[in-house]
């Protein structure tokens, strides 16, 4: 560059070379003179992180209540239960005849109860659900179960959402909203929750008494029951439409949160489109495992019903099994009695992210939660990927 410099530090030229020579002895001295006190193994930030985000939690079921003819409430107790945000879920880990499967269930209790080691889960018996059937048959007082830590992003954020949340609940989808309503009551959350709760008939409404009590005592919570198969005075009749939303939303800006079965999402999305809301004001809980992938656009018709060879590497073990084109790879892995990591089962959370070594898969675009670089380097979320050929995959050890 320019001329040669002659840097003068403290104008003591030669001594500076000494200072250079002293760098090593100085550092040695610093080390030697420091106290030999033990290093804290788990410093405060790591301690709180472990409390907030345990990988596994063990609970004993301490109470079972029938909420409706097809829905049960389970009280889970432990010495410690991780604190959570109203709307989050835990992934329940089950061993059904050697098959290690998981299911996400929203925590329906208030975060406050977690401080005394309690969660409530609400489970609705699905028509073709072998897992819910197992739970209904086997979960009794005294049963010990394992769950993940609290997961998911279905919660209110005041920096992002409108102050009023229109909660659209269908069937079992009431559970996260029930937690939110209690969190508002308990002073943990502060927003207006207008709940549009869709059920078939009066008898299908779960937690009605509890919801009404909260709504009567806290002006921020409002509950509207919408019955599709029954006409009753004092209840909305039909489906939750754009008009119903407008009727109860009022004039203030609002965010829509929805939680329910896939058919509800598909219907409501069209209704919400009529409202002309910005995307940021519409949030949906996990879409749920896709059980009819052949009906989605782009799924090759000639692959329906095909069976493929699936080679699974996990740690040092390799297993070869069969996989059906219309079942996710995760389901095939669970059928093979392999314990694969999974949480959301919707392609979103990335817990089941695995390396696709060979083969082709189909992924419904809406449930493709992968990172860009994962696509580039051949990674898939096995819970939302369906085999279109023989496959070889590597699953991370849990």
């Amino acid at each position: 560059m320019s001329k040669k410099l002659n840097v003068k530090i403290k104008a003591i030229g030669l001594l500076d070379l000494l200072a250079f020579k002293k760098l090593v002895p100085n550092r040695k001295k610093k080390f030697e003179e420091a106290p030999a006190t033990e290093i804290r193994k788990t410093p405060p930030m790591n301690e709180l992180a472990a409390k907030l985000h345990p990988k596994h939690q063990k609970f004993t079921i301490t109470d079972v209540v029938e909420l409706t003819s097809s829905m049960k409430q389970f009280e889970l107790s432990s010495d410690t239960a991780a604190y959570f945000r109203a709307g989050q879920y835990v992934s329940v880990k089950l061993d059904i005849n050697g098959h290690k499967v998981t299911r996400p269930y929203s925590i329906m209790s208030s975060p406050k109860a977690a401080l005394s080691g309690k969660y409530m889960l609400g489970v609705k018996k699905a028509d073709d659900g072998f897992v819910t059937e197992y739970i209904f048959d086997n979960w009794k007082e005294g049963t010990v179960i394992e769950t993940s830590g609290p997961e998911g992003n279905f919660y209110y954020e005041d920096i992002r959402d409108a102050k009023t949340i229109i909660g659209i609940a269908g069937g079992c989808g009431i559970t996260p909203f029930f937690s939110m309503a209690q969190a508002i009551r308990d002073g943990i959350e502060d927003f207006n929750l207008c709940l549009l709760y869709g059920c078939k008939t009066l008898n299908d409404i779960a937690l009605r008494k509890e919801l009404d009590v909260i709504a009567q005592t806290d002006s921020r919570v409002k509950v509207v029951y919408v019955l599709s198969d029954e006409k009753k005075e004092g209840y909305e009749h039909g489906f939750i439409t754009a008009d119903v939303i407008k009727k109860y939303a009022g004039d203030e800006p609002y965010s829509i949160f929805m939680c329910g079965p896939q058919v509800m999402y598909d219907f409501i999305s069209k209704e919400i489109a009529k409202l002309g809301l910005e995307k940021k004001y519409v949030r949906r809980e996990l879409y749920g495992q896709i059980n009819n992938v052949e009906k989605y656009e782009g799924f090759p018709k000639d692959k329906v019903g095909k069976k493929y060879k699936l080679t699974i590497h996990m740690g040092q073990n390799t297993t070869i099994t069969e996989a059906l084109s219309t079942e996710s790879i995760l389901v095939a892995v669970e059928r093979a009695k392999i314990k694969a990591p999974s949480l959301c089962r919707t392609g979103e959370c990335g817990c089941c992210r695995s390396r696709l070594i060979a083969g082709d898969v189909f992924i419904v675009e809406d449930t493709d939660g992968r990172r860009m670089a994962d696509k580039k380097f051949g990674y898939v979320h096995i819970c939302s990927s369906f085999p279109l050929s023989d496959l070889e995959i590597e699953i991370p050890v849990e």
Partner: protein, 511 residues
């Protein structure tokens, strides 16, 4: 207990671990990389929220360069054949000082001459001293290169004849050197904007490391990967496998087994023992010595003293905003902003010990480098600040959310007033990486996203000169932010490269 044998086991797939494993695998060593998380990269990753994919940590990667003028990292990546699409960062930084009396808003370009010219525009009369400063930085860079090439045994004559200014300044702080060069105060304030990348105020920060970083940024510019830093991490992982190395995730190394002062193997939480003579550790030295090393009690006291003499760098806090308007619509014109409440970085450093309502901020608007990094009509903004010991000690499980959201709200308010923009009503997605988040995903010690502070006495140079002294156990070497290269992305990668090569050299000598 099953047993396997490897030439080298790398613990942790952070930047240093990935780089080290790729290096040893490329050299033909039978390499095993073990990572407890299910993803590689540590903070070099990405995450998806709604229709946005966020960059968790990388602001700009130093020392990459381009075809014809590769920097050290660029050369290393190219040599490994990493498949990464690099995008240049448009400007060095915009620095905004919000203090009423100190008000300053400058935008500094890359390119040495461009930078000096711009400085002269903002601070007339600064040209000569600032040119001298960079002249010195260049000498520092050359001297470090020479020290590296001499593998810790430099020829004193060469040092005194060719690198005398380096020798004279090497044991001083940034402030001391800048003052000696008579750089005007305002020019120093502008020059020191990058201090937060190293996390120690310029009164304590060693000059060599800062000078080397500055000149590299200005000469080579900075780059970011098209697909967030996750792309770098996966490119490394692929290279390791392609060179015949093994990578296992979801597995934690519990013990590093030592016999007679030398490494003999490791054990994992999956009940496996792996035999090896070489362990390259991406976990901090004190974590390895304190929790993992077994069979070398004689070093415990020394290791405790070493740790207690040092300070662990700042705890990370990053707020991520997915915005439903374009950067242009929002008035976010630049890629990299530093918004500081004052130019006095010592005051800023001290402010990190508490959670004030006006934290310093290092901001990136990714769309100003990669316009299509988010869907049409949207943009992303990432804001980083740092905290020191004590600042988060009152945080518990019930106030945690409130604490992190309050900081985010303060940050948004401060950005709006400093840059005269409105972003609060455009927030579609929002997430925070707190010190707990860094602890959760990357095992960050006390939430720190840096290594030990690079104060003058423990900066790059003294660490380089003492690499042999710091080798407490034969066959156990360290990479990453807590290792000899100090922290930062490029340092992490290059630490892995150097240690990989040294480990390879060790293995040759055994034969």
């Amino acid at each position: 207990m099953s047993e396997r044998t490897y030439d080298v086991v790398v613990i942790g797939a952070g930047n240093g671990g990935l780089a080290a494993a790729a290096t040893t695998a490329q050299k033909g060593m039978k390499t095993l990389l073990i990572e407890q998380h299910t993803l590689p990269g540590g903070y070099a990753s990405s995450f998806v929220r709604g229709r946005f994919e966020f960059e968790p940590s990388l602001h700009e990667l130093c020392d990459v360069g381009k075809e014809g003028e590769w920097g050290a990292c660029g050369t290393f990546f190219k040599d490994l054949g990493l498949d990464i699409e690099w995008v240049p960062v448009p400007e060095a930084y915009r620095m905004v000082i919000t203090d009423k009396d100190e008000k300053l808003d400058v935008k500094m370009p890359f390119g040495l001459n461009e930078y000096i010219d711009k400085m002269e525009e903002y601070v007339p009369g600064s040209r000569e001293s600032v040119t001298n400063f960079f002249d010195l930085c260049q000498e520092v860079l050359d001297a470090i290169g020479y020290l590296g090439a001499s593998k810790g045994n430099p020829d004193k004559k060469v040092l005194t004849s060719k690198y005398s200014n380096f020798l004279k300044t090497a044991s001083y702080s940034v402030d001391q050197v800048e003052k000696a060069l008579k750089i005007p105060k305002k020019a120093r304030d502008i020059l020191n904007a990058y201090w937060c990348y190293l996390g120690t105020d310029t009164e304590k920060l060693g000059f060599t490391i800062y000078g080397a970083m500055m000149i590299k940024f200005l000469l080579l510019g900075a780059y970011i990967p098209k697909m967030r830093s996750h792309e770098i991490s996966l490119a490394f992982e692929k290279a390791i496998r392609d060179f015949g190395g093994d990578v296992i995730y979801g597995t934690k190394v519990e013990k590093i087994l030592v016999e007679n002062g030398s490494v003999v193997g490791v054990t994992t939480d999956k009940g496996e023992k792996i035999n090896t003579k070489h362990v390259i550790c991406n976990a901090p030295r004190h974590v390895a010595f304190g929790n993992m090393v077994e069979g070398a009690d004689e070093i415990k006291e020394k290791a405790n003293r070493e740790f207690n003499s040092r300070k662990v760098g700042g705890k990370g806090y990053v707020a991520y905003f997915g915005l439903n308007k374009t950067a242009k619509e929002l008035g976010l014109t630049d890629y990299s902003y530093f918004i500081y409440p004052t130019v006095d970085n010592k005051k800023l450093y001290n402010s990190m010990f508490e959670r004030g309502n006006n934290p310093m901020q290092a901001i990136v608007c990714l769309n100003n480098a990669i316009p299509d990094c988010s869907p049409p009509g949207t943009s992303m903004l990432t804001v980083t600040t740092l905290y020191k010991d004590g600042a988060w000690d009152d945080v518990n499980e019930t106030n945690y959310v409130q604490v992190k959201n309050k900081i985010a709200k303060d940050i948004v308010r401060n950005i709006e007033s400093a840059l005269n923009v409105k972003i609060s009503d455009a927030i579609e997605e929002y997430s925070v990486a707190s010190p707990q988040t860094f602890a959760r995903y990357a095992c960050a010690y006390d939430g720190s996203i840096y290594g030990y502070e690079s104060e003058t006495w423990d900066s790059l140079l003294p660490r380089l000169l003492m690499m042999k002294d710091d080798l407490y156990i034969n066959g156990l070497r360290f990479v990453g932010g807590f290792a000899f290269r100090c922290h930062g992305y490029s340092s992490g990668y290059m630490s892995g490269n150097t240690i990989g090569l040294l480990t390879y050299k060790d293995s040759l000598e055994e034969k």
